[in-house]
């Protein structure tokens, strides 16, 4: 059995350049691994044309690092002619007729989409257990979840079914599963990557990002995903930069803030202790780490609930059984069609969020809840900016605990939000944040460090992450 997929992307690339292996070898290995690890349930759909696509690359000379590399794409990112379900019954037969901009970019770089990764239904959840197709499992302990909502992407990368995956992060959905499964997950600055073709959940928070085994590969993948897109007016024009450029550079003199909230008693003791180890190590190597007070962090989950549910209720109004997706049978009127289609098509978590979101936006409630949340959101962002006047980065644990056991979150509408209490503030402010593994706990489960940067300063995040990756 070949083990090319255990090599780094650089090593695989060299073998491809020397023609010692072909893209088809990589695809066949990935498909075999996926088949042998079916119990992980990391994928919803396998691309049945991928072997053909790989064969077509056989005679082409590799022109970039990602040429011929298999990648998993979260199933809320649309792929032309390849089923995209959002892990929902309401879209379980939906075949997109165009590609998301990020999909166009990975195809331009001749990457091979092996399949569509499992996730929470419409990215709503924190353990991927709300998937209509059942939860993906954590390769480190199959009794535990891979986190969510990008749980399938995390499970696939962590178990080396594929070296790379795309996820999306509305309130921690890249970073939290990355932490639970011991991989590197980056939510870039809001606006860095086009959201065109990402099925919208909460439009002012959603962002696509790379999930990989190493920091270097993460930064390299980000290089090809970013850029202004006229199809997404929230994508931002920036000068081209190489996100790997600070990797391996000294961290001496770097100023890091650690908000008290991130090491408060909501965090498991073993995780807090590991963060203290990290701080000691950073200080020994010339970084300055200060514990700081930061207001509003404890309000972020509350803001997220209001903003995300309100925006979701509006975004998911499009699933009405008319133009695409599931439509309920035996209906006599349009109103009945809407109600029954959505009643039968959506799962409980999605229904709850749409209903509460509709309530939040109805009549005077919009002022009481949504407007107030946007005001506090502005304050939390200003608070981040205040800290970033004096510091280069903010750190903390990515999660308050290790990956939870499957089945322990069911039917608890509150818990899904609390799993992301440490990562949600970043989405409020639109900042970049990354989770990098910093070892394991006594049960051998991964612990992640969360690194938050200034807007559009992903490169400094990668610098610190790569420094720690070498040691922990």
């Amino acid at each position: 059995m070949s083990k090319y997929l255990d090599l780094s992307i650089k090593e695989i690339h060299e073998l491809l350049v020397k023609k010692e292996i072909t893209p088809l070898d990589l695809v066949d290995e990935a498909l075999k691994r996926i088949e042998e690890n079916k119990d992980l349930n990391a994928f919803i759909t396998i691309n049945d044309k991928v072997r053909e696509e790989a064969k077509n690359l056989g005679e082409v000379d590799p022109n970039n690092l990602f040429f011929g590399i298999p990648i998993a794409v979260k199933d809320n990112i649309i792929t032309k002619d390849l089923k995209t379900t959002c892990a929902s019954h309401i879209l379980d037969n939906f075949i997109p007729i165009y590609d998301a901009t990020v999909v166009t970019r990975i195809k331009e770089n001749k990457m091979l989409i092996i399949g569509k990764a499992n996730m929470d239904e419409f990215a709503m959840g924190s353990t991927s257990e709300t998937s209509y197709f059942g939860a993906p499992l954590n390769p480190h302990d199959k009794k535990r979840t891979a986190g969510g909502s990008s749980g399938g992407s995390a499970s696939a990368v962590s178990s080396s079914l594929v070296p790379l995956a795309l996820g999306s992060d509305t309130g921690g959905s890249i970073r939290q599963p990355a932490s639970y499964t011991g991989i590197v997950g980056m939510k870039p600055t809001y606006g860095r990557i086009s959201r065109y073709g990402l099925v919208a959940f909460a439009s002012s928070l959603d962002q696509i990002g790379p999930m990989t085994r190493t920091v270097y590969e993460n930064a390299s993948l980000l290089n090809i995903l970013v850029g202004e897109d006229e199809k997404d007016l929230t994508s931002v024009k920036k000068n081209k930069e190489d996100f790997t450029r600070l990797i391996g550079k000294s961290i001496k003199g770097i100023k890091i803030a650690l908000p008290k909230f991130f090491i408060s008693d909501i965090v498991d003791k073993e995780i807090s202790n590991r963060i203290k180890d990290v701080i000691n190590y950073l200080e020994q190597n010339g970084a300055v780490v200060d514990i700081v007070d930061m207001k509003y962090l404890d309000t972020a989950v509350n803001l997220y609930q209001i903003i995300a549910m309100a925006e979701a209720s509006s975004n998911l109004a499009r699933f009405d059984g008319v133009r695409y997706g599931f439509r309920a049978k035996d209906v006599d009127s349009v109103d009945e069609m809407y109600g029954k289609t959505r009643g039968e098509g959506f799962g409980d978590e999605v229904k709850r969020r749409i209903m509460v979101g509709s309530y939040i936006l109805s009549g005077e409630n919009a002022k009481v809840y949504y407007d107030k949340a946007l005001k506090v959101r502005d304050d939390i962002t200003k608070e981040f900016n205040r800290i970033f006047k004096d510091y280069d980065l903010i750190i903390g644990p990515t999660t308050t605990r290790i990956a939870p056991l499957i089945g322990t979150s069911a039917d608890d509408p509150h818990k899904a939000f609390m799993d992301d209490v440490l990562v949600i503030p970043v989405n409020m402010a639109g900042l970049p944040g990354l989770s990098v593994p910093v070892g394991k706990n006594s049960n051998n489960m991964p612990i992640g460090l969360h690194i938050i940067g200034k807007a559009f300063d992903e490169a400094t995040i990668y610098k610190l992450a790569s420094f720690l990756e070498e040691v922990f």
Partner: protein
């Protein structure tokens, strides 16, 4: 345990255009109350200023030029429709005379 009334659940379900079974109504009476209590906590935040943040993007009024771009064909657009009649998407009767 604190619950919403059946009428309150049916009200939000109507706003959301989601039909619920009797069993679901009972379940959501409890679960939606949990979420309603959660969102109410925003009222406890006293120290804030009046500026609102709709999006992290500073320039959110940027628009592209109003010119015709590439378009999808009617055939492609209809490919996922659950019920079709020729090139039209079919829906239940909307107006009863």
């Amino acid at each position: 345990m604190d619950k919403l009334s059946k009428e309150e659940v049916l009200h939000v379900a109507h706003l959301a255009r989601i039909s619920l079974t009797d069993e679901e109504i009972e379940k959501f009476r409890v679960q939606l109350k949990v979420l309603m209590d959660d969102i109410d906590k925003i009222k406890d935040v006293k120290d804030y200023d009046d500026e609102m943040m709709y999006t992290p993007i500073e320039d959110n009024t940027r628009l592209r030029e109003d010119i015709v771009g590439e378009m999808l064909s009617a055939k492609d657009v209809g490919i996922n429709a659950p019920a079709k009649n020729g090139s039209f998407i079919e829906v239940p009767v909307m107006i009863n005379e």
